[in-house]
Structure formats: C-alpha cells, structure tokens
Subunit: 452 residues, 2 copies
C-alpha cells in the first residue's frame, strides 16, 4: 500500500483525536493516613504521618534513608509538596533502583534535589550513588524559587529521556538522560554528621502521579531552564536546531584520520560502548597510534568534548591544527591546545610557568585557574573561537580567554615552546585534534557548532 | 616706573590700532628680468631668467646650489609660484644663513620643501644642513595639493616662532620653532647623483614678500595642518588649551625626586640649556644618581618625552611605577618601561626575546618593530594609557599596543623577568620615571596630558 497525502492527513487527525481523548489520570501515592504502598530502604531514619503529611526525621549514625514506593514508574508526571527544616538536605528519587547487584542494594538513580542551603539547588537533579550532579542550578531565577520554612510545590516530568522539574511553578531542570527508564519513587532523609541537626524534619504531602494521558498535561517548552543533554553521542532536537553537529558518530572513524596519516590509525584508538578511547602505551607523545584529527577544518566554532581521565593521564584537544607542520618530526601536531591532564598525578602539572600546563590551560601559554570545577568521571571541555577571540571552558565555567593575531600574542608565543613555529596560533582555520600522549583517556559527545 | 592696569590696557589699544592701520606692503623679490638682488651660494648649478621666471638647472658633480636674496628677512609672508621637472628635488630656504663659522659657509636653515617624488612632502619644512625634518606631511590632503608638471602657488608665513605653509591654498606645515629668527630667502637647485637628471629644471616666478602689516594678511587658524611644537620646554597655546602640562619646566627639579629619595639626586643628573641630562657613569642600572620620578602619580594620560641618545646608551621611561617596590634592592624601580636604547651599539638589543629589549619596546615583554622611525638627534616617545589599554609611539608612529589586567598579560609577565613582582603592570596609577642606566641620555619637552 502506498500512502497518499490525504491518508497521512487522516492519520494525523486520528492520532490527535486519540491523544486529546486520553484522560490524564492522577493517582495519589500517599493516602494521607498511613504509609501503605511505601517501604523503607537503606537507613534507619524514622517516617511518621502527621496532619496529612509524611514526616521524615533526621537521625545520627545511619546512612541515607529512603521511603520508596513499592510500584515502579517509567514515564510520568509527579507532583508533591514539601517543607524542610534549615540545615537538612533531602530529595525525592525517581526511576530509582535498589538491587543486590549494585552496592548491596544501595538506592541509586535520579533525585529531585531539596537543598535549603545557600547553594540553593532545590529542583536540580542529582544522580544518587551513581554519577553525581546531572543538572545543577546556575540560573538565579530557579535558585530563588524555593521558599525556606514554607510548603513548596514540586513537579517532575519524566517522559522518555527528557526530565524536567519545577519548584513553585518556576522551571528548574531540563535534562536529557537515558541511564534508567523506570524505577521507584522514594523520599530521602539524608544522613547527618552533626548531632545538632538530629530530629529535624522534612515533610511531604499531596503526592500524586500521572502515567497516562501525559501529552495534554505536559508543560510547554521554556527557554528559562537551559537544556542539558547527557545522551551519549546523540544530539537533541534543540542542539540540531541550533546548528550543533556530532564530530564523532559514537561508532565509526568517519570524519577522522591520523594526524600524519591519510586514514584512521590501525592501533592506539578504540571505540567501544559509545566511547572513543586513546589507549595506554608508554606515555610518550604521539608514539603509538598517534594523534587523530578531523578531516574537515574549522574557522569559528563552539567545540564541546566530554573527556574522562585515567590516573595520571595526559592528552589534549587541539584546534587551529596544521598537520603539514611537524609532519616528519617527532611528537604531536602543531596547534593551540586545551590541555587534558591529571593535575594531581602527572608531572607536567608542575612544569611550565605558573600552571600553564595544567588541565584546561592553553598549553604552555595561558594557565587555567587552579580552582576549577574538575570532577571524577566525565568532564566537558568547551572551546569557543570567534575570529581572534578564544575561550576555554570546563563544566560550564570559563577558565580563560585570549586574543590572538596581535603583538601581545606574538610576544607570549615567543616566550613559549611554540616560538619555533612561525605565526603560531594565528591561522584562520585548522583541524581539530585529539592527542595520543600514551595514556588512556576516554572521549565522547564530541560536538561542534560552527559560528559565522 | 610701575605699570598700572590702565596703562597696560591703553598700550594694548594703541598696538591694536597701529596693527589695523598698517598697510600690507608686498615687495617683489624678483624683477622678472634679471637676478638683481640675488646671489649664488655653495654650488655651481646655473640659474637663468626665461619668460619672467627664474630657471634653475640641475647639474652633476656640484653640491646643493642656492640663489639667495642679499637682504635678510625676519617676520614675513612669502608667496611664489614654482614648477619642477619630475625626478628633481628642490626647496625655498627662509630665515637661512651662510656663515664662515658654520661648515665653511654652508647654507643652512628652514626650507619650504619641493618634493615631486611619491613621498609628496611639498610644503613640508626641512631644516637644511642642521636638524633635518621639522615638519613632514602625513596628511593625505596636503600631500595631494602639489600638481606635478604645472605651476604651483606657495605661501609661507613666518611670524615669531610660528611657521606655516600652503600649497595651492591647502594648509601644509604648522610649526612652532625658534632656532633662527631672521635670514635670507634662497632658491635651491638640489645636487643630483644620476646623470639622467642633469639639465632638468625648477622654475620660480611672482616671488613676493610682505614684512609689514602682516596681522591683517595672516590666514586664519585651521585644524587641517596639525601643529608641531619644537619650542624647547614651552607649551603652545593649543597644547595648553588641550590640557597638556610640562612635567619638567626646563630649568629646575620641581616636581621630581630620586626614585629612592625624598629629594632630587645630588649627582648623576644635570640641567643645562633646557636639556635634562642623565650623566655617564659606569653603565650600571641606577647606581650613580639613580632613577628620578615625578612626585605626582598618573592614571590615564598621554606622555610625550623627547630623548637623544649618546652612542651605545641605555635609559628608559617607566610608568605605573611604584617606588615602594624594590626600594631597598639594587637596580631600577619597578614599572612598565618604554625602553630607550641605542639598538646598534648596546648589547641589550640582542638579549631578551625577539627584540623585546630594543628601543621603544615594552621592556622584556613586547618588542617594538625592527623597522621604526628612529633618527639621530632628538626623538619623541609617546605613551598613551587609557585604563588597561596602552600604546607606545615613536616620532608619530605607533610601535605597539597591549591590554593589561587580563590573563594574557599575566601569562606574558610570568615568562618575563617581572614575574617576581606580584600583579606587575596592573596598577591603577603610578609615578613616571626616567632611568639612570649609567649612560648619557638627554631629555627635553617632557609633557603630559591627563585623560579622563
């Protein structure tokens, strides 16, 4: 059968009708009287029912305690009210798990953060006992949404891989993440280390969830909570619309070659589970598989690269690379380098001048600040090039900026190890390079957005 | 007798009346028929009278030849027409002299330049056989005023120390200079080095001069020819109006002190004939009289300093100086330095990194270009500071510019010998310093204009 235009149109009408007809069914997770349907996990903190609310009471010498639904939920819209005493931390788990196989039943998974501290990340998303912060709140408006000492209204939409939160109607998190598709809801009483906090309370009430007819209930898209995309090597619709492109497809070497080769290196680099790994060899520069570069060259762009260091590792992301320079010589290809380094363990962190060979630095030229938001696991490097203006960012924080093609730039280069390369760093365009420095480093989510 | 206020006022009225009444009297310097009133000096080029014009004819193997008036002129307005063959150079001397005592009678003094070459400085002022260019033409409009191969109209106003020129009605030079108050007028046939130019002609006609009733004949002031002030340690009215101030009064140490002293040094510095001289000692840094600094400190400014090097000399002009730094140590006070150096002869010119210790460089940080308009005799250094933006100029040409208080600046400083001084070059203000490096260097016309 061949679809005709009118058939497609009719189909669309039918689907719309179906969607519009599906009733949103809200289910109360808490009956207002007792804890039927809930079960306590991990810790020993107490949960009581008082005045139609679940009250969690903080307790010393017990790990985080969770009051979890017995049922599992996949796609849903969850709403609840909460109130928390000053000095505590709490949260509401969703799509969360407790398996014997994982840390002996430790509750892990997404958490709607409740954070009455000065940091004020209530509504952010923390990945409990797994990958840590997935969505922190930088935005002033969302950080002000939480009202200390009062009842607050929370909303979580978890539909497919898109997870969004609201606090008192203010959009907070807007996350794309597909680690877990389904799991329980759980109310956290956080462990405490200070006896003064013992007996303090966090309360929840009017906890309701919808799992059907979600389309009509979904809140409209908003610009005020910026999307964070944690889907591995997949662009979001928004990223596509904004002009982002994957520099690496997550599977093949398409678009890449060895910096000194016409093809991708036979050894030294592997692609597995959506991760591009430069393998450990002997720690020398470009001596195993060698650096790899994009086949295409770039002029003005935003380049995002997620990287994960192994202990003591050295690598780097270079731009304005000219693979014709140093083609026959030893060592890496020539270009400006966003240094990737385990500052704590690699000796290069102590060489150079005032830290200009540490993580995030413009290698051998401009140091990144010592105090920077590096974390275990994956980090996001961002390089922005707009003509002569260049910026290095790490995990959303600007580390440094500089202007090239001027006298100060030349004066600085002439002091550095790049002085032997004429006109270093002043190229209009160049390849993007990932460095093989003989240490294992993982890369993923390599994305570029070309700028005018 | 003591002048009273009304007497001064009456005097002024009488002078004004006299000036207004005085008739401008034009005198023809050339009678159109023969060379009566003129005399040939120095060279052997031929001057003829043809069709009511004086014709000078270029000749090999003779120095510059001059046809000079027998009479001397002080304040005057001079007009003439001229026409010149391509390939020649010429000019009209005024307030010029030929004395046995000076280079055996060599004609010297101001010259209205006639320059049909591509440089096109016709109307500029050259100080023949004395100090060279006093007013070159940078301005496009004045350089286009001369018409090659045609009769051109010239005008020179020399009244007091102000000397102005016009070519075909276009303002060219606007000079303040008081080297000579009076002398002859003379028509130059320039020496030639190329036999192909022999026999080429330069012609003058309608040469007239006014020496009385000049006030009413003077052309209005114009912005199009920028004033150049060569009066030693004297501000022009225009400079005063623009906010320039003398940093050195030409005679005393007022406003200055030793960089490590509460008073002016007892030795090492002398003031004579309007020149501030740092004396020769042993070539060491600040080891004789020591550096001197302004008592006042400056934030945003234009600083002009005329300097004259002796052979192999080293000195410097520093700004953002903090005399509390390095107060007890050896060597110079700490600040950003406009390097003053005899690049040809002082060893420091070959040290540092790619010329960053040569004349005009930001010492040890940013090199001035190798090709720069340095000349024997006095040169003018200009430093412009506008917040974090700083420029070094030499003789009207920008050598370098930089931005301080940013990451590139810090990275550059950290590579240089200034790395030991915390926050080097980032001060909001500082003293101005002249460096004693144990070599004789002359300074004059030290002027500053503070900027908002």
């Amino acid at each position: 059968m061949k679809f005709t235009r009118w058939m497609v149109a009719a189909f669309a009408l039918i689907s719309m009708g179906t969607a519009a007809d599906a009733q949103t069914k809200w289910e109360n997770l808490f009956n207002g009287k007792n804890l039927r349907g809930w079960t306590k996990l991990n810790g020993e903190a107490e949960y009581r029912v008082e005045d139609g609310a679940i009250v969690g009471i903080s307790k010393m010498n017990t790990p985080n305690t969770f009051l979890a639904t017995k049922k599992q939920y996949g796609d849903f819209i969850l709403e609840f009210e909460f109130k928390i005493d000053e000095g505590l931390n709490s949260g509401v788990q969703f799509r969360s798990l407790s398996d014997k196989d994982y840390q002996d039943g430790r509750v892990h998974g997404y958490q709607f953060e409740i954070d009455p501290s000065k940091r004020a990340w209530t509504g952010g998303i923390y990945d409990e006992a797994r990958s840590g912060w997935r969505y922190s709140l930088a935005d002033a408006a969302s950080r002000k949404a939480f009202k200390p000492g009062e009842w607050n209204k929370a909303r979580v939409e978890a539909i497919g891989s898109r997870i969004r939160t609201w606090v008192n109607g203010v959009p907070c998190a807007n996350l794309l993440d597909d680690q877990t598709a389904s799991g329980f809801i759980a109310l956290q009483v956080h462990a405490i280390g200070d006896a003064k906090q013992e007996g303090k309370q966090v309360c929840w009430r009017n906890i309701r969830i919808a799992t059907e007819g979600l389309e009509q209930e979904v809140y409209p898209e908003t610009e005020s909570a910026e999307e964070v995309n944690h889907l591995p090597n997949i662009l979001s619709e928004k990223e596509k619309k904004e002009g982002w492109k994957l520099l690496w497809d997550g599977k093949t070497s398409d678009g890449w070659r060895g910096a000194r080769l016409d093809k991708f290196p036979d050894k030294g680099w592997v692609m597995e589970d959506g991760i591009l790994k430069v393998k450990k060899s002997d720690g020398r520069e470009s001596a195993n598989g060698g650096d790899i570069v994009t086949i295409k060259r770039y002029r003005n762009f935003m380049l995002k690269v997620d990287f994960r260091l192994t202990k003591g590792a050295n690598s780097g992301v270079k731009y304005f690379v000219n693979t014709d320079l140093n083609k026959g010589g030893e060592g890496s290809s020539i270009g400006c380098e966003f240094q990737i380094l385990d500052d704590l363990r690699h000796p290069d962190a102590k060489l150079g001048v005032k830290g200009n060979r540490r993580l995030g630095s413009l290698y051998d030229l401009i140091p990144a600040p010592e105090d920077k938001p590096y974390r275990e696991g994956f980090n996001t490097a961002l390089v922005i090039v707009k003509g002569n203006h260049v910026e290095h960012w790490l995990n959303g924080v600007k580390l440094l900026e500089y202007e090239r093609n001027n006298q100060m730039w030349t004066a600085l280069v002439n002091y550095s190890k790049y002085k032997v390369w004429p006109n270093f760093g002043n190229a209009e365009w160049g390849n993007i390079l990932l460095q093989d420095h003989g240490d294992e480093v993982w890369y993923q989510n390599i994305k570029i957005k070309e700028l005018p």
